[in-house]
Symmetry: C2
Subunit: 359 residues, 2 copies
């Protein structure tokens, strides 16, 4: 079985240096070291510091490791929402976050866009009582991506609310101004090209403050994953449970590789590759853009309607060495999804477009 | 840097086949496959089925994957305890489970033994109102291990309560009769010799029933990790979040290796190696048993008081190629801990004892 190139929207192709780093990890016995040891603290510190540089993260932000982004939805509500949260819903993942808030007994308000669309600023009328606004920068299920201007708009219009940004399948591509938001989070199996099993939670000072207030009122129900526990552990490069040490190590190494390549180069290449994929959709008469508005089309998860039997397309692509994604949920049989992550080279994306043109 | 042999109580030495399996995983691109794919379902199914065989798990037990055992403490309380739980506390980890119950607003009762000791049956007077009894079969912090008879005693004496067994650093060594208990859980970085980042939760029918009752009353606060969600996902070999696919794959492979070797052989070797370690403690005048009662001494985490500077001992051992653990918590400077996990061969344990005798 020869290796294939994964263009699935995550888990996806591993970052091209991961195999080498994994071999080094085995040689250095990273899988055996204690999470209480200095060796682990050094790994945590290195990963955190390089991530701060890559993302241009303000000094007053905290970096916490969790097992998934799903988990972070729950922690955001338990730690930062006493009564009410508001969610911009435009696909399965933003909806799930909204649902979590309800499951946790909060009033969960939403603005729901049709799939393939996003909210317009004028659409929203978020009550002052909403303590947190959840926005999914890049909906992996539909490929809808909010322009970064949205974050500034939300901040300037709803100054009292905390702004939590789901960056699962987009960070580090969008140049987020973290001073305009209060928290962001992502999973490593998307743009960072790592095996699944690690979430990264970036937490700004206003979220920390809110958690402290809730704690003072006896309202923190997050046990060991309260922001206060996380902060205490992280201040000494420790975690609140035995973590996925290997994943934290690998993330640190990939972030260094990205710094060496340069985030500007990575972002420029991302734009170029997205253009190739959109051109491909335009060129093929059996594909069409799912998202009508150009400025909402994601760079990192490109979604197309497909009039051919998409099962057949996926199979033919696989025979040619490329694994692509089908649509999500109700679009499972009618769409195709293509990841455009930093590990995907320009040549690979061009090859993919060539193969698509020939089938 | 030449490789060392880790005798730390977990994370510890990787199971001797893990490196090979990891290389196969890279070749088969396990890190890239979708957790929604048939390929992942096959991995989940294989791992689950082989684990059932290895542990002789009854058919009515469920197998769920989490990110750690710490997490399972929280889920046990949220899913199976309305008002009150009871905990046999004899070290840091059993105490932490007890604390979680309090943090979650339940009445958390305990019997606390001095460290190095365990409860005696006559010590306990567990109220009928305690819905769940937590027992830590093997306290990784102190090396106290309850004999299996304890589970039968608890079941026959407290028939109304659910019995939850912390098997973190002992499963699959003790031959647990799962029909005598209601749940057990473990982490893969102990006896299974895997990198940290996966917990396994075994859930019997009475726990499932309790969760259903609590759900009917609107008392389940576990969101996506309610037993009902976990059950629904697992019935189709799916998980409630993007899981640590690679760890589930590796666990499945190690379990096959253990089945090939034979669990009886593994258990017999474990007893032999534990005897070597206890003989070593007996032979060296600067070591002594921490746990006075022989029948409470763990086979898998052997703990000794150390009258020499234990920092120096650890360093000298490391120079000789062995990494051992220091004491936990307040015993950090006065004890040594030695893991005796299935990956440790008889020869390695004998070598360790030889080196200890020479320093």
């Amino acid at each position: 079985m020869s290796k294939k190139i994964y263009f699935t929207p995550g888990p996806s192709e591993l970052y091209f240096t991961v195999e080498g780093h994994l071999k080094t990890a085995l040689r250095e016995q990273v899988g055996s070291i204690s999470h209480r040891s200095q060796a682990f603290k050094n790994i945590y510190k290195e990963t955190e510091e390089n991530l701060r540089t890559l993302l241009n993260l303000p000094a007053d932000y905290k970096v916490f490791f969790t097992s998934s982004a799903t988990e972070i939805w729950e922690h955001l509500i338990r730690n930062c929402v006493e009564n009410e949260s508001y969610h911009l819903v435009n696909g399965a993942f933003s909806k799930r976050f909204w649902e979590f808030s309800g499951l946790l007994g909060r009033t969960n308000l939403k603005h729901e866009s049709e799939e393939g669309n996003g909210a317009k600023p004028g659409d929203l009328n978020i009550p002052g009582s909403s303590e947190l606004i959840g926005i999914t920068l890049n909906e992996s299920s539909t490929g809808v991506s909010y322009p970064l201007d949205w974050l500034k708009y939300l901040r300037s219009t709803y100054q009292e609310s905390l702004i939590a940004v789901d960056g699962v399948s987009s960070i580090p591509i969008p140049e987020i101004d973290f001073s305009q938001i209060d928290s962001a989070y992502f999973s490593v199996q998307k743009c960072f090209g790592l095996p699944a099993g690690l979430g990264v939670w970036l937490v700004g000072p206003r979220c920390m403050e809110k958690a402290r207030e809730m704690n003072a009122k006896g309202l923190l129900s997050a046990t060991y994953r309260s922001l206060l526990s996380l902060e205490k552990s992280a201040s000494n490069y420790q975690t609140v449970e035995t973590p996925n040490v290997l994943a934290i190590y690998l993330l640190g190494k990939v972030v260094i590789d990205m710094l060496v390549k340069g985030i500007d180069t990575i972002r420029r290449e991302s734009r170029y590759k997205a253009a190739v994929l959109h051109q491909m959709i335009d060129d093929l008469d059996w594909l069409s853009e799912f998202i009508p508005e150009k400025e909402l089309r994601s760079e990192t998860v490109v979604v197309a309607n497909c009039t051919r039997d998409n099962d057949q397309v996926v199979k033919q692509l696989e025979e040619a060495g490329f694994v692509i994604g089908k649509g999500y949920g109700k679009f499972k049989t009618s769409q195709l999804r293509f990841a455009n992550f930093p590990t995907h080279s320009r040549e690979q994306v061009e090859q993919l477009a060539d193969v698509m043109a020939k089938i």
